[in-house]
């Protein structure tokens, strides 16, 4: 990779001023260093966030949890609060990578990881719009689209690779962002991700994620996460699904169903959620929810199989909560 200067601030207030032209922030580095080695990202300055005190730690807030951006996936897994109250998130953290990744990979980094599409990552390959290409090569007649989006795929149909995002969104998490002006703003995590041929999140060049916050979990809530991989040992999701369902007696009162690996952003299926509310969570209902979720799917040349995966994984995740 190209030479760069390295800074390691310890106070959050110092960070914005360090994010000069062509600077990047780094947490675990699992994603960034790969991009730098390939020459896809060539910063002249790397700002390490791991020593920033304010970005560390998991703290209880208002019955929920505030998870600092540099909390590692391993720390998330080790948190008994996370495991007990947000089991789908714990599973997602576990599934996000092998121990070597979980030990350094951070919540902020996992959410901000760039797409894993080869047209983005392989410099010699036809260029993705995210690195200056005019059109997504996967969307062309000759392109290979097996790993690509089945929803919202009319622009740059690579997929959101985050495993945490579907789980966090299903639990109704918000994300906090430190702006270039040094002020923090908070928004639903669902709105953090954008379907844009140039970028994947709302983050501006000089902005960083500082935390995600999970609301309190209402009684009767159950969650489940499934990540379906081609290679179980270590792989990105072909399709992942997080479901969080609140029932009262036998009846579903509230449901959130969020898919990963199927769209340029985490893909919440309100169609599927609507099928569930007011009904008992039995196999037929779960299957109907899966059906409803894929109704709007428009697969590309090579990825019709993902429609079936999404359909069945939603059913299975829902039944696992019943």
């Amino acid at each position: 990779m190209k030479a760069f200067e390295y800074l390691s601030p310890t106070a959050l207030k110092d960070v914005p001023a360090l994010l000069t032209e062509n600077a990047v922030v780094m947490a675990g580095g699992s994603d960034l260093l790969g991009l730098m080695k390939e020459g896809i990202v060539e910063p002249s300055r790397v700002v390490n966030l791991k020593n920033v005190a304010e970005l560390k730690g998991i703290k209880p807030v208002k019955g929920g949890l505030r998870i600092g951006a540099t909390v590692t996936l391993a720390e998330l897994l080790e948190s008994s609060d996370v495991r007990q109250q947000y089991p789908a998130l714990a599973t997602a953290a576990h599934e996000a990578g092998p121990p070597q990744v979980r030990n350094v990979g951070t919540v902020g980094g996992e959410l901000c990881q760039r797409p894993h599409c080869y047209y983005f990552r392989i410099k010699q390959a036809p260029a993705c719009t995210r690195r200056g290409g005019a059109q997504c090569p996967a969307a062309t007649a000759d392109g290979l689209s097996k790993w690509h989006a089945i929803f919202a795929n009319d622009r740059t149909p690579d997929v959101s690779a985050s495993d945490l995002a579907p789980a966090l969104i299903a639990y109704g998490a918000t994300v906090s962002i430190l702006g270039a002006d040094g002020k923090e703003r908070t928004m639903p995590l669902e709105q953090f991700f954008v379907n844009d041929p140039k970028k994947e999140t709302v983050l501006g060049a000089k902005e960083i994620v500082t935390a995600v916050t999970l609301p309190a979990v209402a009684p009767g809530t159950r969650g489940h996460f499934i990540k379906f991989k081609e290679r179980d040992s270590y792989d990105f999701a072909l399709v992942s699904v997080a479901v969080v369902v609140r029932t009262q007696g036998e009846t579903v009162r509230d449901a959130r169903i969020v898919l990963g690996g199927v769209a340029p952003t985490p893909w919440r299926s309100q169609e599927a959620e609507a099928v569930l509310v007011g009904k008992a969570l039995i196999e037929r209902t779960a299957a109907a929810a899966g059906e409803a979720a894929v109704k709007a799917a428009r697969p590309l040349k090579d990825n019709a199989y993902k429609v079936q995966l999404a359909r069945v994984l939603i059913k299975r995740a829902l039944l696992a909560t019943a």
Binding site: M1, Y6, L7, P9, V46, P98, P99, S233
Partner: protein, 202 residues
């Protein structure tokens, strides 16, 4: 920056480094008299290191060593090329195979995806630091958990880390612990048996 160009800052200990530390071999070991990067104390104002080579003090296998490296150099490169600790292998150089696995503060990491500068202040343990009589190494030999052997040290480190926190691991525990490592010769069965035995689980 705490380096040669002297843009120093109060955040870094400006300690004179005198002479070689430890018995390091190989290219690029700092023998010059310059400032050494130390773990940054809290409240430090940020200062830039590099892009040229800077002296880094690393704790490797229980010894402090100082190396003169650029911020872009990975821990795997520094271990292999500056410290001659070649048990840590580079096979994919992209965090996909585990041959470069080392421990930082007792946790396994891909050293090819870790900047050496990020390892300052942490206890680095490489396969050499386990010692040749480590139960995992003995069990690997007994169960023939290796063929060409190039991926083996990475598996050994992943396995040793598992046994630090888990006694009597199950087969699933073992698979989970080494799922970030790849063996091309196909020695997984021996690895599973070795780790279960070394952990007292079989």
């Amino acid at each position: 920056m705490a380096g040669e160009k002297g843009r120093g800052s109060s955040g870094l200990s400006r300690r004179k480094f005198i002479g070689g530390v430890g018995t390091v071999v190989g290219a690029g070991v700092a023998l010059s008299s310059t400032t050494v990067l130390q773990p940054a104390p809290v409240e430090a104002a940020p200062a830039a290191l590099g892009p040229g080579a800077v002296p880094l003090k690393l704790n490797v296998n229980g010894r402090d060593v100082t190396v003169q490296v650029e911020p872009r150099e990975t821990l795997a490169e520094v271990l292999r090329n500056h410290l001659d600790l070649t048990g840590t292998k580079i096979a994919c150089d992209r965090g996909g195979c585990g041959a470069c696995t080392v421990m930082l503060d007792g946790k396994t990491v891909y050293s090819c995806m870790t900047l050496a500068v990020d390892a300052v202040g942490k206890k680095i343990v490489t396969v050499e630091g386990l010692g040749e009589d480590h139960p995992v190494i003995r069990a690997f030999v007994k169960h023939d958990a290796l063929q060409c052997g190039y991926c083996t040290p990475g598996f050994v480190v992943s396995g040793a880390a598992l046994l630090m926190k888990k006694k009597n691991p199950t087969l699933d525990d073992v698979k989970e612990a080494v799922c970030g490592n790849v063996c091309r010769c196909g020695t997984y069965m021996g690895i599973f048996a070795a780790l279960r035995e070394a952990g007292g689980g079989a």
